[in-house]
């Protein structure tokens, strides 16, 4: 048991005898998975919010089902279920088209599954933010003769962002942490890399503490960035108390 600080530094060094490099690579893929899932979630969420606010009844019911089930079922079950269902479904589709089955890229599946989960939460956040835009602003823009696109990026987007940003920041924090669940289905990101490092050296405590600190750093840095962005999108708004 290496308890001296020299031993710990050797274990965490980024070059091969140490496992620091493995952890950092894992951290990079955690960030990549989270970012990908966040973007997919943003797309799904925008579509979902607009769909929920549109008057089309079947579409609204379908989206209601999507957001309710995804938010009610444990993430782990969703990820495992969708992981297998996604792989299985794609391979069946390929078989039906007489194409050879291929081993799906674990990264793509992880991003797709987490993005699907994020989309449900994003739908709710964005729907609330869109509803919070004063109707008068949009009517004023229409009265000035702005087209739909101009209206969107001059009026709707700038008024929507301050409302949506705290919710989006929360979702980003939760996807960075939820991405650890992908370890359970065997894709190597930070959590699984850490377990690997721990298993090969038997220094579980040091490695899990190190990776907890990496996650913590990730959270704190993103917190700071989101605060800056929020200050930027809230410029010109009157300060509350």
């Amino acid at each position: 048991m290496a308890t001296s600080s020299q031993g710990i530094l050797d274990l965490l060094s980024p070059y091969p005898p140490g496992w620091g490099g493995v952890l950092l690579t894992g951290a990079a893929s955690t960030v990549a998975i989270s970012a990908g899932a966040f973007l997919i979630g943003l797309l799904l969420g925008t579509g979902g919010a607009l769909g929920k606010l549109s008057g089309i009844r079947p579409l609204r019911l379908l989206l209601e089902l999507y957001t309710t089930t995804v938010r009610a079922v444990p993430e782990l079950i969703l990820i495992v279920g969708l992981y297998y269902a996604g792989m299985d479904g794609l391979n069946r589709l390929l078989a039906a088209l007489n194409l050879p089955a291929f081993e799906l890229n674990g990264f793509a599946v992880a991003v797709a599954v987490l993005g699907f989960v994020q989309g449900a939460y994003m739908t709710e956040v964005l729907r609330g933010a869109i509803l919070a835009i004063p109707v008068g602003q949009i009517e004023a823009a229409k009265a000035f003769g702005m087209g739909a696109r101009l209206r969107f990026h001059r009026i709707i987007l700038p008024t929507l962002l301050p409302n949506a940003l705290p919710g989006l920041a929360n979702l980003w924090m939760s996807v960075t942490k939820d991405s650890a669940l992908v370890a359970v289905v065997g894709y190597q990101e930070l959590a699984l890399a850490t377990r690997l490092a721990g298993a090969s050296t038997k220094h579980y405590f040091i490695f899990f503490l190190a990776s907890a600190l990496i996650y913590l750093a990730l959270t704190l840095v993103s917190n700071a960035i989101f605060n800056l962005v929020e200050r930027r999108v809230r410029r010109g708004q009157p300060k509350l108390a």
């Binding site: 048991m1 009610a72 079922v73 444990p74 993430e75 782990l76 079950i77 495992v80 279920g81 297998y84 269902a85 299985d88 924090m173 960075t176 942490k177 939820d178 991405s179 650890a180 669940l181 370890a183 359970v184 959590a191 850490t194 377990r195 721990g198 038997k202 579980y204 405590f205 040091i206 490695f207 899990f208 503490l209 990776s211 907890a212 996650y215 913590l216 959270t219 704190l220």
Partner: protein, 229 residues
């Protein structure tokens, strides 16, 4: 979809449900008690206590629960046997179980989230009510017990319901440390029968039912103390 396996596996499913529910109950009850301490430390503690409580909440809210669980189970779990005499102690049969580590890490994690909720609620209690209590000559402890804490809990009640549901959705992680909870039973059924989706569906329905029960009982609880708007 075939569900004939249920007849053979229902005792296991039932035992798994008990494990899941007891993990939930342990973490919510003990976590809530710790959270009250953490929240008061942040709202009315001295600078050292305050920063300690803040640091605790930041750490547990900023790292994934899975990492906290593995840090305890693999990390602390591998260090525990080095304490002399612990293997002979009375508690060793509990201390070597995955269930113990899952319960501890869920409790610590839940406490951090709940403390944040309670902190906001404590600050949201109207000043006038606290001043009225002081004017009646209540000591700080009596004031807290009679007015401050009950009012804060009432304010936080809807959020607490949400947090408990979140905690329920986190319990399947326990299967990664050999706890035979409901999700682990589903995994076992999958390995035994090669059915992938059916066990997951059954387990999901169970989680949905529990979620509905929690939501209902919190709506009932909230109705017990009417709030003037």
């Amino acid at each position: 979809m075939t569900f004939s396996w249920i007849s053979a596996y229902w005792p296991l499913l039932l035992a798994g449900a008990v494990q899941t529910l007891s993990l939930l109950a342990i973490s919510v009850i003990f976590g809530f008690v710790i959270a009250i301490g953490l929240a008061f430390a942040q709202v009315s503690g001295g600078p050292i206590l305050r920063s300690l409580a803040r640091g605790y909440c930041t750490f547990f809210r900023g790292t994934p629960l899975l990492i906290q669980l593995w840090l305890l189970y693999y990390g602390v779990g591998s260090l525990l046997p080095m304490i002399p005499g612990i293997r002979q102690s009375l508690f060793w049969p509990i201390l070597r179980e995955g269930f113990f580590f899952a319960a501890v890490s869920f409790t610590l994690n839940y406490a951090a989230y709940e403390a944040e909720v309670l902190r906001g609620a404590l600050l949201a209690v109207p000043k006038g009510e606290l001043e009225a209590g002081r004017a009646f000559g209540m000591r700080p402890f009596t004031l807290t017990r009679r007015i401050w804490l009950p009012r804060a809990i009432r304010i936080a009640l809807p959020t607490i319901g949400g947090e408990i549901v979140m905690q329920l959705k986190a319990t399947p992680l326990a299967f990664t440390v050999t706890v035979m909870d409901l999700y682990a039973v589903a995994t076992k059924v999958r390995q035994d029968t090669l059915l992938v989706y059916e066990p997951l569906v059954v387990v999901t329905v169970f989680y949905l039912i529990i979620t509905a029960i929690i939501a209902r009982s919190f709506r009932f609880l909230e109705a017990q103390v009417p709030v003037r708007r």
